[in-house]
């Protein structure tokens, strides 16, 4: 399967005119940022992930090629591939010692943080990507998380009637920065945020591929895959694709029931428990006889 996908990438290269797109991944190649010399042609091994009862993580192959209308320019060529899960609010709490015991004291609500974020690169991230470009495209884990938190804070500010032209310096970027950094550390430890340096293979300065592993504790939603082409630390082309992650089969049924008919769901859970309790006792009696 993976090999077929890779061959597909090769055919893309051979006949560059009609960019062959995987079904569902309908995002067209974004116009190159500065020079129209190089653009990205890409595909995903799958653009849907079904979470079924035996789901235990998944692997997605992101592959692509650099399309050139002119001879390759000078400079070091690099590729960065990112995958980003749906965002949601999180609460970060810090323990402090009060009267001899450790308790959760301060907490910070971060309005929006990605549930998953992986960055795969062809080299050391801080060597291949300039700080300025990182800020512009929000590529590194730090940058993306901070930007998203600040964006969400600003939206809240505007929604509460604040003037969008005179946004104050959000405290989230100052005093609460420690909480955001800690969240990144904790989530990196959990494997939710991953930096995968040297994990994008770039061959012949043209073909690239990255294997992204999705963890088993995946959240439902739309995952965004971004690809960046860099020359000497500057992004010269980027491209986006989407993966839909959805619970299916029994998982879908149970989840929907719990949300749509909570009382029925609760009573059903009880009935199962009571029946199982009775069944075990009846079975034990049979065995004993």
């Amino acid at each position: 399967m993976r090999r077929i996908a890779f061959l597909l990438a090769l055919t893309c290269l051979a006949a560059p005119a009609p960019a062959q797109e995987a079904p569902g991944g309908d995002a067209p190649a974004a116009p190159p940022v500065e020079t129209p010399v190089e653009t990205i042609v890409s595909g995903l091994s799958q653009n849907r992930v079904a979470i079924t009862a035996n789901f235990d993580g998944d692997e997605i192959l992101v592959y692509g090629a650099v399309r050139r209308d002119a001879p390759a320019p000078e400079g070091r060529l690099d590729v960065i591939v990112t995958a980003e899960g749906p965002s949601g609010p999180v609460t970060v709490r810090r323990k402090e010692r009060v009267a001899g015991i450790w308790i959760n004291k301060d907490s910070v609500n971060i309005s929006s943080a990605p549930s998953f974020y992986a960055v795969a690169t062809t080299g050391r991230l801080n060597e291949i990507l300039s700080a300025e470009e990182n800020r512009k495209h929000a590529i590194s884990i730090d940058q993306l998380v901070h930007l998203e938190a600040a964006d969400a804070a600003m939206q809240t500010w505007v929604a509460r009637g604040g003037d969008p032209d005179s946004v104050p310096m959000f405290p989230i970027l100052l005093a609460e920065g420690e909480f955001i950094r800690s969240m990144i550390r904790v989530r990196t430890g959990e494997g939710r945020y991953r930096l995968l340096e040297n994990r994008v293979q770039l061959s012949e300065q043209t073909l690239f591929r990255a294997d992204l592993t999705l963890p088993s504790n995946l959240t439902e939603g739309v995952y965004r895959v971004r690809m960046f082409l860099l020359r000497d630390g500057r992004v010269i082309a980027n491209h986006e694709r989407w993966i839909r992650v959805r619970k299916e089969g029994l998982e879908r049924m149970v989840f929907n029931l719990s949300r749509e008919q909570p009382l029925l769901y609760g009573l059903l859970s009880l009935a199962i428990a009571a029946f199982a309790g009775w069944g075990a006792s009846a079975a034990a009696r049979l065995i004993r006889r």
Binding site: V254, G266, A276
Partner: protein, 306 residues
């Protein structure tokens, strides 16, 4: 073999879950405790989110308690009348408990409140019970047969509204069991447990019920309290995971049957020593968490704190 849990949104090993359900069910059948105080920390440990662990734990407790009660009923070791009186008090207490819980939530210290209640109540009950049961055990070892005094008159006998509890061999006022029920219901609501570990010693020491009847009666009361909790959680927080419950239950009911059978071969004093050791161990574990500096001071929870 991995199983993806639709509500908890994590993938866990089925055999591990089955084992957890089995161990908790075993203890439940043997001691008459629901096992809520054990299953919740065990589920945290394997990565199930706390809210889901608490709610689903309650659902599992229903199953193992039903299984346990049916096993005890065959030995006529359930005092239904006492169970109903305790239950009436229990509902009253849990209504007050839910109110206090909401109050603590608005103050933002629910976790601490729950942990400290665990340490204080489990520690106190466990230590008292351990001391008493060890003494009783040593006494019987010494060769003397312990005389069960059926007619020790205490302050409880002076209270009005006396009622006959035939299965327990008691003729006492309904006020002490109602109060004990209310207190258990109160703690159950704030700690998210069935309250068996409080009920069992209270029935033995405060009401003077025989140990063998206590187990069945406690389980009988726990069925209703945890059933109530399960439905409440399904409706309000939608954190009951049916898939998770199913595997836990399967392990739990089998464990409960084995546990109640093993319990028959143990002396009442031995049962009490073992239960008190378990209770003390859980209390110490939580106390250690509160006292020792955690490796990671920060914790991340999805969602917004109220």
């Amino acid at each position: 073999m991995q199983l993806y849990l639709p509500i908890a949104e994590v993938s866990v090993n089925v055999f591990l879950l089955f084992g957890i359900g089995g161990i908790v069910g075993f203890l439940s059948g043997m001691f008459g405790v629901g096992g809520g105080f054990l299953i919740t920390p065990l589920l945290f440990f394997i990565g199930v989110p706390p809210a889901v662990a608490v709610a689903t734990g309650a659902n599992q407790v229903v199953a193992s308690s039903v299984s346990g009660v049916l096993a005890q009923m065959k030995r006529k070791a359930v005092d239904f009348r006492m169970g109903l009186v305790l239950l009436a008090g229990g509902f009253l207490g849990s209504a007050i408990g839910i109110w206090v819980f909401a109050l603590m939530q608005s103050l933002g210290q629910v976790d601490l409140f729950v942990q400290i209640s665990y340490v204080v109540f489990l520690g106190f009950i466990g230590a008292t019970m351990l001391q008493e049961s060890l003494r009783a055990l040593l006494r019987t070892r010494g060769g003397k047969v312990q005389v069960r005094r059926a007619h020790t008159h205490s302050w409880a006998h002076g209270l009005p509204f006396k009622m006959k509890f035939r299965a327990s061999g008691l003729y006492i006022s309904v006020i002490p069991p109602l109060a004990i029920g209310a207190f258990t219901g109160f703690l159950a609501a704030i700690m998210g447990v069935g309250g068996g570990f409080i009920l069992v010693p209270a029935m033995i020491y405060l009401l003077g019920m025989p140990t063998k009847v206590v187990i069945g009666t406690s389980l009988f009361q726990i069925i209703f309290v945890s059933a109530f909790t399960t439905v409440m959680h399904s409706v309000t927080s939608q954190t009951v995971d049916m898939m998770l419950a199913l595997v836990l239950i399967f392990g739990g009911v089998i464990g409960a049957q084995i546990g109640s059978r093993v319990g028959v071969y143990l002396k009442a004093e031995q049962l009490r020593v073992l239960l008190s050791l378990l209770v003390v161990a859980v209390a110490l574990r939580i106390a250690v968490d509160l006292l020792i500096r955690p490796a990671e001071l920060y914790s991340v929870m999805p969602g917004v704190l109220p």
